[in-house]
Symmetry: C2
Subunit: 635 residues, 2 copies
């Protein structure tokens, strides 16, 4: 064995960008594959497969599983790409003679990532053993884990141009040949190309999935708890060349905002809007990171995403609206130029990051069919906007517990149009530094955090995993040091209905984005930290922190199936088909912010940025460990 | 939450030793429980349950799973104890008032261990969520992992006297209250009692399961690759008091051998037999460790187990028979005194540890019904002995590849009676130091290693997981330093039929211990490193290194079922019943000696004591991660 020198030819893939864009868009239309980390460009997380129905979903059994070899929180979901060409592999015998150890073949491949150390597996879906075709083990400094705010998570891979893209925790973006893997590079375990998107010594990390739209791969940056100035960057899928970068704060030349043409609630934003709502140079360490999911509308050629909290968490320390933290962005894919912005939580006082996904689903509102964007924000409001113009159409609470704002002002003639009307009692700015503001709902992790929702066109419902958690929040003053925590608040979270003796901390709900109303809601013992999947079988899936995969009737919410996987589920459910059979897959492996107590071994109630105590009883249900579980109907 | 001070009353359990012995023996007779790490005192690993049959086993599905939160090799199996009394739990509120957080209740409990760090979970089998009743997290120095020869494995827990016993990697033996867990002690996470059985600074470690027989808990010691002098020790289940210790080598007073009464092949062994086949003081660092499974015959009041290899692995360095390494032992449970010994591999030259389990199954041989002991040794011979007298009845190769010895001399009148007739070509002693002896079969990990076999009385068959591996072995001289490796040989293993282009390294066989013949044999791609379970349903189960749980017809070996679990299986299959339903459970989590390349991240062919290259292709099938999988028939 040690006498064999393994080699692998790089898969030869079509070279022309046009052909590649086609390859990607053809695959994206095929419900049998799961080509993008969000299921599609619109972030619907919907599967058109329908072998599994409300009638038979109760019969699902575990078909196969794969332990990832990594503990801690497993977010995201694998990709499924059909008909990947796996190149021949050769070796050299003792006498230097080359021989074939594996013939070239074509198969359906699942690409699976892990949290730090961000191992990538290519699994053969047509092989009865689901053999590992290739594996990539990044070499990264383990120190990076210490600067990841909310567990050492990674939200997945992207596919495009015959390549697989991984954004490592240390912000390195790497590209592999989908067929040959990392071995496709000139050296073993070397990717086709890699670029550094940030600098961990300054607090930069990466947890978000990269997103490929046409011939670009887009990546964000995390580190809002380290004063990182957020940005989104487009790289050339072929070469890794940086094409454009748009910051969340700073001068127009760096935000790529056009003072005349970029609008906020219909009006041009004016010059240097990313600077002039900050004191002095604070925008340089002002947060607005970009660690969520991105969407793309090919007709408008616009990319949508949200920016995170302003740094620090102590609002008194950073007067002003702190633009453009907490903002929904629409950028031109080719140039990065900003079409419109909408800031949901000006001058954040609660860490209500605005990064949650933008779901591009057309909605008929007031008789008018809108190219809409629906967004369930951490701050507890669900927003429906016109995604062409950025017009605000609906903004309603999606958890009745929300109390920090009375409502969002929808009066176009009001001075506070589009702004939340903050309730003094729950304003950590109003109450001031070193004062513990009690009973703010939602908690910092919001009514929804990274766990993505799904849209089902058949019922026109949004299926939303939610948290039902409040907090006490005490801001304090601190100074910025590069690479050091820049949090500035002490938190403690608790169940929203604790006073009524009801300790549940989550719900899975169906939302009407036209009316801004909950259609049905299923209480969950714990926050639903897993992403939802709706299907044309009329079934919606999600996972729970105890470890269940659950299936409900999309229309009614009626529970049709549940099965406890090896560990708590914070991954996102996907569906795919191979060799004529529909499968439902989900990663378990408890962790994330909600599971940080288990993941990082913390036990003091206010550790883990205030989350540990609220989820302490999770330790009675599950333990760490990453496993992919794939369900199917029995033969 | 942080304001609550958790407390727990210790379960009050019957105090009289007689009652406790009864409790244990009554439970041991109940096929619905799995009370001992070996299934029973006789090491049959047989379940009398028969809801799952040859007819319906093909329908098995995964009922529930539990991720252990630990990577690396998961050996052993959980225990299942019925009707355990779980004590009330109380907490104290802000005002110091005590209130009940959990009422006392009675339930069926599964006790699950992990490899280092040796976490113990008590799981509620009657709770639909299989909630964690208690958990114990030992505090041990992680340095111990570096002195564990063959992965950081642990082979399980023992039950007795209402207590659960764990032998930690660092040789600490701890006792918990079965109902209250470690919290039952005066401090949180403190066991009822604990004792140090060895000293890791001298190379002592613990991997074996403790064994409770009557009112004693017996533990062994590992470290044969560090020159550890093996011993077996009996502690009082109540107090942890050391009752007796019997060494494998040394003076009679320490081996507990009686020169007149203790016999070897029918003859008294004479004075200081544990010294006089060693040069000088070599017996002090001479190995003979005791890291395997133990059996007990209550009628004879004898305990049976095997001792491991003499240290070092370089035979030229330790002239003589090196007694009593490589020996089957029969000791009186109450006194530790030795009734008889049988040394299988005098003066070992290949690391053929004799620790494999002794199966106590009566056999009719030559028309005479014998209280027999059947043992599948690493050296490739399967031995049938009379367990009353230690008389050798049968000794035959259980893999035709075995070539180091022509046979075991069965001629009672021969000078070499009972000894293997070593073939010079494969004698690393004969060929000498610094000479690479090529093509020795089996390899050091034997035709069978720790993976225990099962006995099915209905068919009178022994179901044996086996290896089919050979090696090159080059001994070299080295000197002893306490706590440092004392191996003295370089190895490289390879598939036994490599020259024929057949790369399989395992088989699962059925053995006739009367005739000494293989009845049927199923080839396996990889060594079968998992323990077998036969059942009264006519089905035998075992796991594979790729991760399959397999079920075969005990009579014919016909494969009836297979299902790939999340990781490679090196655990032992068990069966239990709760609430009227039969379950089959197995730990997956690849590792052990065969899986050491994956477990410890080694890649050079001769690393991992020569095992890495032989199992390199395992990396194409599976990755690390401990998960318990429980199968059942669909409702
Ligand atoms: O501000 C940031 O840069 C940043 C990064 C991350 C992250 O990268 O995971 C989270 C958050 N903030 C955050 O506020 C948050 O609630 C959160 C939850 C999680 C998670 O994976 O469970 N990550 C993050
Ligand atoms: O000599 C010893 O003390 C000793 C200890 C152990 C162990 O404790 O696991 C093994 C061995 N030897 C050994 O020779 C061996 O083949 C082996 C395999 C395994 C395993 O768990 O896979 N352990 C051990």
């Amino acid at each position: 064995m040690n006498r064999l020198l393994m080699t692998a030819s790089t898969a030869i893939l079509a070279a022309c960008a046009g052909a590649q864009a086609d390859d990607l868009s053809i695959r994206l239309k095929d419900p049998k594959q799961w080509v993008s980390p969000t299921g599609d460009d619109a972030n619907l997380r919907h599967s058109a497969l329908k072998q599994i129905t409300t009638e038979n979903v109760g019969k699902l059994v575990i078909d196969w599983q794969f332990s990832t070899g990594v503990l801690r929180g497993h977010e995201g979901a694998p990709l499924v790409i059909h008909n990947v060409q796996i190149p021949e592999q050769t070796a050299t015998d003792k006498n230097g003679k080359s021989f074939v150890t594996r013939k070239a073949f074509t198969t359906d491949v699942m690409y699976l990532h892990t949290p730090f150390p961000n191992t990538v597996y290519a699994l053969d879906l047509k092989d009865p053993d689901h053999k590992i075709i290739w594996k990539y083990q990044p070499e990264q400094d383990a120190q990076v884990v210490a600067i990841m705010c909310c567990d050492s998570v990674n939200r997945g891979l992207a596919y495009g141009d015959g390549k697989i893209f991984l954004a490592q925790a240390d912000t390195t973006l790497v590209a592999f040949d989908a067929g040959a893997g990392a071995i496709g590079g000139p050296k073993r375990n070397e990717p086709l190309w890699s670029v550094k998107n940030g600098d961990p010594s300054k607090g930069h990390t990466s947890t978000a999935a990269p997103h490929v739209f046409k011939d670009k791969v887009l990546v964000g940056i995390a580190g809002g708890e380290f004063g990182v100035r957020g940005h989104i960057t487009a790289y050339d899928v072929k070469t890794g060349k940086l094409l454009w970068r748009g910051y969340s704060t700073g001068p127009d030349a760096e935000t790529l905002i056009d003072p005349e043409k970029t609008t906020h609630l219909g009006k041009p934003v004016g010059k240097d809007s990313g600077i002039n709502t900050w004191e002095g140079e604070q925008w340089r360490t002002g947060g607005g990171t970009t660690w969520g999911w991105y969407s793309y509308d090919p007709e408008l050629n616009l990319v949508y995403y949200g920016s995170g909290n302003p740094s620090t968490w102590n609002p008194s320390q950073r007067p002003g609206d702190n633009r453009w933290s907490m903002t929904i962005w629409a950028r031109d894919l080719d140039t990065g130029k900003v079409k419109w912005v909408y800031q949901m939580t000006p001058h954040d006082e609660w860490d209500y990051d605005g990064v949650n996904e933008m779901i591009l689903a057309d909605q008929t509102i007031g008789g008018v069919k809108r190219k809409a964007l629906v967004h369930f924000d951490r701050n507890g409001f669900a927003y429906t906007l016109d995604r062409v113009s950025g017009e605000l159409l609906v903004a309603e609470k999606f958890d009745p517990a929300v109390n920090w704002a009375a409502k969002v002002d929808m009066d176009k003639n009001s001075k506070t149009y589009g702004r939340p009307l903050v309730v003094d009692k729950y304003s950590t700015q109003h109450n001031g530094e070193d004062v513990n503001t009690e009973g703010v709902c939602p908690a910092a992790l919001g009514v929804k955090d990274q766990q993505p929702a799904s849209y089902d066109a058949a019922t026109d419902l949004f299926l939303v995993p939610t948290n039902h958690v409040c907090m006490d929040y005490e801001p304090f003053r601190l100074s910025y040091t590069a690479g050091q925590p820049y949090v500035g608040a002490t938190l403690e979270m608790f169940p929203a209905d604790r006073d009524k003796g009801d300790m549940h901390t989550g719900a899975f709900i169906a939302w009407d984005a036209k009316a801004g109303k909950i259609v049905w809601s299923n209480k969950e013992a714990f926050s639903v930290w897993s992403g939802a999947l709706s299907t044309d079988g009329g079934v919606t899936f999600y996972g729970t922190l105890e470890g269940y995969l659950k299936a409900v009737d999309t229309k009614t919410g009626k529970e049709l199936f549940k099965h406890k996987t090896p560990s708590g589920v914070i991954g996102n459910v996907i569906s795919y088909e191979t060799s004529g059979k529909q499968y439902v897959a989900v990663l378990s492996g408890v962790g994330g912010w909600a599971g940080i107590g288990l993941a990082a071994g913390l036990s003091k109630s206010n550790e883990g940025l205030g989350a540990v105590g609220n989820y302490a009883s999770l330790a009675n249900y599950t333990a760490l460990g990453g496993v992919l579980t794939v369900f199917s109907l029995p033969n």
